[in-house]
């Protein structure tokens, strides 16, 4: 049983995983380079953990004091030295990931598994900068973490069976199943979902349909909970573009070429929900198209 887990990166996913861990009684060391991000994360963690049982009755009701006692928020990476498992959630940029993994490799015990919460970057590539390539595994959590019953787990080229078992054991503590797939850029989820989002942007740019019509076809005809453009707005159009660029570079396949319309929106600062505007305008009423 895991009792202390290190979470690197206090963005949306880092916060979500921290909430899930502490709701299952696991102490968490949350690390970020920004004090400001950690302060914001602490507030969100407390609110989400307090109210999460409303949405998932299986989760325990916890007080603010209990939440605070289980989370250590720090800018000092060394504080993860006694953690039994690491889940990393920093931005999808190799220039940031590479030095981080080299540092983690020095700080953590040799038996500690590194869970890479990436949506596109190769797990084998990450493993290659550590001295423990067999203990690096992809763990693609989905948002909101505490409501999702399964996650995409990615076995890198060197990932051992034991590491897969350890990742499954941690997930079992969180009442989650693992869908274990093999490593190739974008894995299953993003390799497919980003084609949907990108092609949806082309469809809108070509004047075939509005963003709302595209999303309604996915929701009302296909039965998806969200349409591809709502999803893109939720993820952040800059992140979607970054992932498409990674897919394009890795596969050298024109099917991953980022829609010029999507690129223009990013350049115009219409990054989605996080800034109040993307394919939809969120400053007035939800659902108003841009």
């Amino acid at each position: 049983m895991y009792t202390k887990v290190g979470i690197i990166g206090a963005g949306t996913m880092g916060i979500g995983i921290t909430v899930d861990l502490l709701l299952h009684g696991i102490q968490t060391v949350l690390v970020d380079i920004s004090e400001q991000a950690l302060e914001k994360a602490k507030r969100e963690i407390v609110q989400t953990a307090r109210f999460a049982p409303l949405l998932n009755k299986a989760l325990p009701v916890v007080s603010e004091e209990q939440v605070c006692s289980l989370v250590i928020a720090t800018t000092d990476l060394k504080h993860v030295e006694d953690c039994e498992f690491i889940v990393e959630n920093i931005p999808e940029q190799w220039a940031l990931k590479e030095p981080l993994y080299r540092q983690l490799d020095r700080i953590c015990r040799p038996d500690v598994v590194f869970g890479v919460n990436t949506s596109a970057i190769s797990i084998t590539k990450v493993a290659g900068v550590t001295q423990r390539p067999d203990k690096v595994i992809g763990m693609h959590f989905m948002n909101p973490v505490y409501l999702k019953p399964s996650i995409e787990v990615i076995r890198g080229y060197h990932t051992s069976e034991r590491t897969v078992n350890e990742a499954e054991a941690l997930l079992a503590q969180l009442d989650k199943d693992a869908i274990v797939v093999n490593d190739l850029t974008g894995f299953v989820s993003n390799r497919i979902s980003h084609l949907f989002m990108n092609e949806a942007a082309f469809v809108v740019a070509d004047g075939v349909a509005t963003a709302k019509q595209v999303d309604e076809i996915f929701k009302k005809c296909f039965g998806h909970k969200m349409g591809p453009l709502e999803t893109a707005d939720l993820i952040g159009l800059d992140t979607v573009m970054d992932s498409l660029n990674v897919l394009y570079q890795e596969y050298q396949d024109p099917k991953f070429r980022c829609s010029p319309y999507l690129k223009k929106m990013v350049e115009a600062g219409r990054l989605g929900r996080k800034v109040g505007a993307g394919f939809y305008d969120y400053t007035k009423q939800r659902g108003n198209e841009a």
């Binding site: 609110q47 109210f51 949405l55 009701v61 009423q285």
Partner: protein
Amino acid sequence: MNDVKQLEERVHHYIAEHVDVPELDYDVEIFEEGLVNSLFAIQLMTFLEKTFQIKVTMDDLDMNNYKSVTAITNFVRNKQREGV
């Protein structure tokens, strides 16, 4: 406009900003009807605590308290009466 009406209007205004319907009925069940997703509940409770200076406790974690504008208004009124 009395206090209750003001409170109800404030809640209505907030919910209306987050749903995609031209008119929002005070009794429509916003989660049941799919006007907002379940995650909105957390955002809503944070708004209620900040705006009306109440504290949502463990006993208040019941979706019935937040299902409509009317239900939310009644919940906030009761909390204010309790003085928490």
